[in-house]
């Protein structure tokens, strides 16, 4: 007899989604997490008294709608803000506004407009195809069974339906970089870099790096998966984590927070449970990990518990990230040049030209700090004033490119980087530094420590072609079941990968139930 049918490591959004589905199917599930709040990267944190921010992820744009429905997240307390336009700030204040399929400002002409519509249509058709694959177990290519063949047939049909020219476009662009694709489609530099920013967010790649088109398409699946546009979550991203926790508990799942897992227990040839920091061991028929693959296999299971070939794959799984998160507590609404206060509620991005982004990237490769960054900014308190004291605000920004650890160390490096970021913000929001009451800068190594993400990688491993789809996280452990008996993956390190989609958790639960691994 085991304590539980399944113990899920990690109460991040994927772990909770997986728990919700398994509990809904009547399984006896325990979710354990070292953090005291549910949600993982979908968390809200009071970083200074009175000011609460979305700790990691700040935009909800691709959360699969079927999960919202299946787990009744709205009933569990999830409430979304209004869909946001993206405003790419320009030094001359003639800002570029991207709203749905239209672009305005920054000198865009009708040719750019048409090009943008065509581009969006192309991306939409490719992303739709990917959605088919994203909502399924990733098919094996050689050792297929009927389920895999069905997915592949659906995919083949989708490819055929694209039409010959689109299919040829797809064959060509899916492996290449966003830099070339932008230059092929657009003349306007502001449009190019605003789109390119979406292709590099959460990665350590520059626009010239192949794989960035895939990364862009990955985000673009949101249009089919979520159909909400880019929104903020009322109460901060932690409210998503809380609603998922509520939904799972309502269906009978048990949550144990503040209880870090220290090891996955393997007896003979299968995994039988987990050990907590308290020394307590919990037994279960299955252990399902939403921790990233490196944490799961290297830190919790240990290389001595697996074959050498698998250990090598774990060791070479790549989880580098150039993403940092900046939070500012502001005493008043900041003034951004050329923006109305209403426009401040939108998603604001600051990015140099694509070549500038490449230059900004270079120092990160050599563990140095850059003097140029990209910003993806949210001022959530304008739509959700409860996050800060009355009349005061928070500004959060996703920042690129920041090294994991600079050679000068973070103790000296962090104040330097913070000053640099404020200097760059001042160009667009003069006087913002004087409004700052408190600040917080989470660099990749901080995010690794606070959220257990190896390398600070938001995607639980780089989203490159060789670590995506049927190769995620690595051969031999690709269909949620791993090469170790009884151990499953349900986090962003499993197909279809990172971002707040919830699909790894959902797909893993469905696969486990279908396989009858718990019956």
């Amino acid at each position: 007899m085991t304590d539980y049918d399944a113990v899920i490591i990690g109460a991040g959004h994927n772990g909770l989604v997986c728990a919700g589905y398994l509990a809904k199917a009547g399984k006896n599930v325990l979710v354990v997490d070292g953090r005291t709040e549910p949600g993982g990267c979908a968390s809200t944190r009071e970083f200074t008294p009175g000011f609460r921010v979305s700790d990691c992820a700040q935009w909800l744009s691709q959360f699969d709608q079927s999960i919202v429905k299946d787990l009744d997240l709205t009933g569990a307390g999830l409430s979304l803000g209004k869909p946001k336009a993206t405003i790419a700030l320009q030094p001359d204040s003639n800002h570029l506004i991207l709203d749905g399929d239209t672009i305005t400002g920054a000198g865009v002409d009708s040719a750019d407009q048409t090009a943008y519509r065509d581009f969006k249509n192309m991306v939409r058709s490719f992303a739709k195809l990917m959605t088919t694959l994203y909502r399924s177990r990733p098919p094996k290519l050689v050792e297929q069974n009927w389920a895999d063949r069905l997915t592949l047939m659906k995919l083949g049909l989708g490819l055929k339906l694209l039409g010959r020219e689109r299919l040829r476009d797809l064959m060509r662009i899916v492996m290449i970089n966003i830099y070339d694709v932008m230059n092929e489609h657009f003349a306007n530099a502001a449009v190019k870099s605003a789109i390119a920013l979406d292709a590099i967010t959460g990665t350590n790649m520059g626009p010239r790096s192949p794989n960035t088109v895939y990364s862009y398409l990955h985000r673009a699946t949101g249009e089919h998966l979520a159909q909400t546009g880019t929104t903020q979550v009322m109460g901060g991203m932690g409210a998503l984590g809380q609603s998922l926790a509520n939904a799972a508990e309502k269906r009978g799942a048990t949550l144990r927070l503040g209880s870090p897992v220290t090891a996955i227990v393997k007896t003979d040839d299968r995994v039988t449970g987990v050990t907590l920091a308290s020394g307590e061991t919990i037994s279960a028929k299955l252990v399902i990990s939403s921790a990233d693959p490196t944490t799961t296999f290297r830190n919790l299971l240990g290389y001595h518990q697996m074959e050498a070939g698998m250990a090598r794959r774990v060791e070479h799984y790549r989880s580098r990230s150039g993403t940092a998160k900046l939070h500012l507590a502001l005493s008043a609404v900041p003034n951004f040049k050329g923006l109305t206060e209403a426009q401040l509620t939108e998603r604001l991005v600051i990015t140099p030209s694509m070549d500038g982004m490449e230059t900004a990237l270079n120092p990160m490769k050599y563990r140095e700090l850059s003097d140029l960054h990209t910003f993806d900014i949210s001022i959530p308190t304008l739509e959700d004033p409860a996050l800060a004291p009355a009349g005061q605000h928070v500004l959060s920004a996703i920042v690129h490119y920041v090294p994991y650890t600079p050679d000068i160390g973070w103790e000296a490096g962090k104040p330097q980087l913070l000053n640099q970021l404020l200097r760059e913000l001042e160009v667009f929001a003069p006087g913002i530094s004087e409004l700052v009451i408190a600040s917080d800068l989470a660099v990749p190594s901080d995010l690794e420590a606070s959220h257990g993400m190896t390398g600070g990688s938001w995607h639980h491993g780089e989203l490159s072609i060789d670590q995506a789809l049927m190769m995620r996280p690595f051969p031999g452990s690709t269909q949620y079941a791993t090469a170790v008996n009884g151990l499953y993956l349900c986090g962003a390190g499993a197909h279809p990968g990172g971002g707040l989609q919830g699909l790894p958790g959902r797909n893993a639960a469905k696969e486990i139930l279908k396989q009858g691994a718990l019956s």
Binding site: L141, M171, M175, R208, P210, R318, I465, D466, M470
Partner: protein
Amino acid sequence: MNQYDAIVIGAGHNGLTNGAYLAKAGLKVAVLERNPYIGGATVSRELHKGWWYSNCSYVSSLLRPEITRDLELPRHGLQVVSFGGGATFMRNGDYFGNYSDHGRHYREIARHSKRDANAYDRYAADTSLQTKLIRPYLMRTPPDPTSLKPRDLRDLLEFARSFMDLGEEKLLDTIKFWTASVGDYLNEYFETDVIKAHMAGSGIIGTALGVYSPGTAYVLLHHYMGDVDGNVGAWGFARGGMGAIANALSKAFQSFGGEIICDANVDEVIVKNGKAAGVALKDGREYRAPIVVSNLDPKRTFLDIINPSDLPKDVLKKATNFKIRGSSGKLNIALDGLPVFHGLDPKNRLMAGDLHFSDSLERQERAYDDWKAGTWSKDPYLDMMIPSLTDPTMAPPGKHMMSVFVQYAPPKIEGREWTDADKDGFEKSVIDQISNYSPNFRDLILHCETRTPREIEAEVGLTEGNIFMGELTFDQLLFNRPFPGYAQYRSPIKGMYMCSSGTHPGGGVMAAPGANAAREILADLKRPNTVPGGYADD
């Protein structure tokens, strides 16, 4: 009488190969060449009295053995002599040697890292598996995955099956190999900087990507898939310089009755009623033929010598977007004697191999950063050879010829054309780099020919000076080369074909594109095929 059965534009190695197979089938063929000499980038030139420079391509491995044998190139004077190994000099005065003898090589790696020495066999086996996969497809026309023609479906199925036969894990490893960066790929085997850097060079040569850019592992494979005398992965010198390959091909071509016309600069392909009818030269001469084959790169073919009104819009767009990026330059140097390098005995056989000075991936990546910023690398990656150590015909007795391939050199300097002052600066950065490791090098220089992308483009006609006639990235390989839908050597104009390195299987002195194109042309003409099939590896 200017009427032919087929006209080939460009007497580079692919044009000559294509012409040879068409002529062998009994066609009356003329190969037109813009320069007063043949060879294109496969050429030897006596640019300093007594010294022969392979002044573009400089080593041979990819040339298909099927073609060498079938066209009896050795009988026409071609001899390729393999060279053993190479070395990367380190800033600390040491070096890493790459020996062709396995035991010696193991010991050398172990001198730097025991762990890496033990990883080497695994690396060699994995990489060799990939070359075995790709080699059977070099002498074949790539299938079109969007086509439903029986031939395409059959070839695709066969292609798919050869991959499926690998099994799930090996197949996924293959995809990884084809998409990874050479840096990440090597990181999976080795820990030592200099060893990784030595091998990573093959992943960036001729490519506008850095060692950390995904896709560069394939470029490494592209340099490993050739052979010298059946030795897969080996490289060699053509005796007399690379021009010996073009000369042998031209003799084979002429032995079948083919005609080579130099100083014939094509202005435009003549198209009548949607069909190719011949070419008009810049000097007004015209040559007529129902078959016109372009050995120019895809950009020059579709944007320079064809009237845009003769082409569908999508092809114009595809040609405009075709990626052919200048990324490299070359120095050819006449030396008064043999230079001495820190740490290496001048009598060591490694001196006759490929020599380098970038001892870490990071230095190679920084060299790429300079290219991205629109300038030549200040700490360039060099692939340096002294062919006269192997082939005494390249320089007078006691003297030496040195070939230095340089990466990176951008097609434009910060957006403007190269100037002579830029060229001098580029040359200086290379000479300085070598001098850092060789005290007597600078004093031995008798003559130096410096070629930036500007010079390469002007002489050879390679757009932007790109040595592969198009980036070797996956969007431009196999059925995507040069563009999806046009990978079977046919242009959208009836009777007009492509046979350059801009078509499958791509760049390097391989001659496979020329041969493959000839096979397609002969099939369209319903003539018997003269092109040999690929040899099977054991």
